[in-house]
């Protein structure tokens, strides 16, 4: 188990380095192919070539990519010192550099925005797990009933409707039409009810999409599990039906769902861009979208690193969990 973990972690680190290299390459090579100088977008309207050159040096864009990648990783573990035009700044580890645009340090941006995204993903996950799995189980137990059919139609709608559509719709109805909720993000530390009010629509919107998927998977898995011999055995023991379903059948049903959950949570932490943009949530997704618009490489790198880490970590956790749930899976 330990050896397995070490191997997986090593692979994860290699993966991260590769991801960072790719981001760097996209950032530098693509504009080069397009014949564009990034530095020009950081100077004023009538800046002269000398100023452009100075900016290029300040941003470190003049160095070869491998030097920049090396500096980037060195900054994370050892910190680094930025010196340009008489402006010397030491950036202590973990140093992800400074935003090209706002000049703020990237690390605090990440730590500031990560909880928002995490709160969004986790809150939505709780909702979609509870409602998706419950709906799926009910559908499986009442297969062919009116409930089952309507639940599956709603689930199909949930899976096919794009999130910006359901998001804008829910804003239009609940926040601006009926004015039930304010739907503005408030940090958790400031007001719990305010935070809930700001998060509830994003949660529900996001959870609607995922609950639909989870309901479908749960239903299919549950139906399959209910046909298993060991379920018949459980009944033959004289177990109550709720124990048979709640314990024996659910445990098997949860296996693929947990796998999915790990992947989805990982992906959401990196990819809740649409939801965050729709609801103006100041999370990582919004930050990276703005950063891409502004060619703000350090923010892009920081968010990419954090979200890749989250995805890799989620996968690792899923693998370990899988082994815990299913004793037939042995990690070696």
């Amino acid at each position: 188990m330990l050896a397995y973990l070490i191997r997986r972690l090593f692979a994860a680190v290699v993966m991260l380095v590769v991801i960072i290299l790719v981001v760097f390459s996209i950032f530098f090579l693509v504009p080069k192919w397009a014949g564009v100088d990034i530095a020009t977008s950081f100077v004023g309207k009538q800046a002269d070539p000398a100023a452009v050159q100075a900016v290029r040096e300040k941003l470190g864009l003049g160095d070869p990519i491998y030097i920049q990648v090396w500096d980037f990783f060195k900054g994370i573990f050892a910190g680094r010192t930025y010196a340009a035009g008489g402006d010397v700044t030491h950036c202590a580890a973990p140093c992800f550099g400074y935003s090209f645009r706002s000049e703020q340090a990237v690390w605090p941006v990440l730590t500031d925005r990560f909880p928002v995204t995490l709160g969004l993903a986790l809150g939505a996950a709780v909702l979609w797990l509870v409602f998706g799995v419950a709906a799926g189980v009910l559908s499986a137990l009442k297969r062919g009933s009116l409930w089952d059919r309507s639940a599956m139609v709603v689930a199909l709608a949930g899976v096919s409707l794009p999130i910006y559509f359901t998001g804008l719709l829910s804003l239009a109805i609940f926040a601006f039409g009926l004015k039930w909720i304010d739907a503005q993000y408030v940090p958790l530390g400031q007001s719990f009810t305010g935070w809930l009010g700001g998060m509830i629509l994003p949660w529900v919107t996001l959870a609607f999409l995922y609950a639909a998927m989870y309901a479908r998977i749960t239903r299919a898995t549950m139906l399959e599990v209910l046909g298993e011999d060991y379920i018949r055995t459980a009944r033959a023991k004289g177990l109550r039906e709720q124990t048979v379903i709640g314990k024996h059948a659910m445990r098997s049903t949860m296996t693929p769902i947990l796998t999915m959950l790990g992947m989805d949570l990982g992906a959401l932490i990196g990819g809740a861009i649409l939801t965050e943009t729709t609801f103006s949530l100041p999370g990582l997704g919004q930050a990276v979208l703005n950063a891409i618009r502004n060619q703000d490489l350090p923010i892009i790198l920081g968010v990419t690193l954090i979200t890749s880490l989250a995805v890799l970590l989620a996968n690792l956790v899923v693998d370990v969990l899988y082994a815990v749930i299913d004793p037939r899976v042995r990690l070696a």
Binding site: P31, W33, V36, T40, D48, G86, E103, V109, Y164
Partner: protein, 596 residues
Amino acid sequence: MTTQRTSGRRKQAMAAAAVVAALLTTAACGGGKDSDGSKNGAAGFDAANNKVAQASLAKKGGTLRFGGAQDADSWDTTRGYYGFAWNFMRYYSRQLVTNKTEPGKEGAKLTPDLATGLAKVSDGGKTYTYTLRDGITWEDGKPITSKDIKYGIERVWAQDVLSGGPTYLKDFLDPDGKYQGPYKDKAADHLGLKAIDTPDDKTIVFHLPKANADFEEVLALTSASPVRQDQDTKSKYSLHPFSSGPYKFESYNPGKDLTLVRNTNWKQSSDPVRKAYPDKITIKFFSNANDLDQRLINGDIDLDINQTGMSPQGRTAALKQHKANLDNPVSGYIRYAVFPQSVKPFDNIHCRNAVIYGADHVSLQTARGGPVAGGDIGTNMLPPSVPGSEGQKYDPFELAGANKTGNAAKAKEELKACGQPNGFKTTIAVRNNKPVEVATAQSLQASLKKIGITADIDQYDGSQTTGIIGSPSNVKKKGYGVIIMGWGPDFPTVQGFGLPLWDSKYILQSGNNNYALIKDKAIDGLFNDYVNTLDEAKKTQIATQINHKVMEGGYYLPFVFEKFINWRGDRLANVYTTDAYSGQYDFVNLGLKSAK
């Protein structure tokens, strides 16, 4: 990379947005009880356009709430270039002179701020002397000295650290770039710039190597604000500028929010310009423009910090339900197409004229949003807010008159004169992140087809504008015969608008704005006359002449004198648009009707 087609996903998004827009329009009829000019309600349509709305209702106190879809490029007075940022910076920064806090044209005029009066100009327009007021202080209570002003101006020279802002001060005071900037300054006090003298703490003297009639305009830019050396955090200054005005930074999270609170060390008696009504000023940034507009309509926020007009959906809803909350000012921007002379056959004036005549100007105006949201048909290249402008009265191509919907016959004639009687092929370059510009490009493409000109549209990465069309060699390589752009004045004079566009000295290998590559001795000469003229009437006259010369050259096809729809919240008092900031509301003296 530079070309991008509308992807399926984006189409889906547009369709979804359209459905939602329809829903929003119906959902937004919450508080539609607007009675014009009422004490608590909206002041009426266009009530603050070039005039003051509800001035007497402004009370001291309260929180003024801005919302925005985009943060400033920088809140550092040296580095910001966005108009709304300059407008907002007056809350926490003062200059020697500044624009009058009055509506419309009057707002474009200068008035003393830190100085006791406008400049004493001597030495044939090459020396400007100011005396500072008494009682002017920093946010920690220490007095603002002439040295602080000099240091603040010197920061413009440190382009390697503080890039992004306008560099007029550097261009006017040290065109050869002899000074290295304060951070590389070997002098002990880092005040080595020769062009500025500070004989005492109350006096500052500027020595220009060459006279420039607009120098005082440039001193009114925020990049001429004082910065105190011990508070200069260099590249990090944008995160917390040190205040010389009535408000100071309380907190700022880039892209999220910004809060200003009263600077208790600022004295009303020292400041003839700022009224400082609210106690607190907040900006909240939204990533969804629809959300922002809905919150404006809902009254959750008072006005849009970006001042670029409402989104199409929000605008539709607002025009229907809340017209009394809207103003329809002229933005000072001209939207146009420009013809780089390096790309054949646009080296020939007749081919350029053919495009100008052939275009359907009404359809271009419609693509921009129509007469209300888009603006009046542009007939020349000087914005209405700039002295010397004649507006639609000067219409050499009769774009708003006889040739409104395009004059194919005249265009064909010009083509013949150009030696291309059967038309030609060319490429229209347009930013991919501006849907309205893409629409105008398509409109232009359609009308050019009628006169035999086949135009491809190349949608390039809009965030790379300076790199792509700012490089004349790239423009030539790509064969961009028509470039769709827009331009507004940095300060409201012909120099502040047109110098980088039309003067041959401003043809740059990168970051070029003279896209047409105009090398006209007459125009260069007129600009030279302009900078040496101190008489306002004469300056205005030269501006008119320059505009005529540019139009006669056939370098530009103007689309519209841009107008936009701006939301004015119910709580606001003392609201007016000003030509100083391209038709935006003048932020600094906005008040609230209630201190609640």
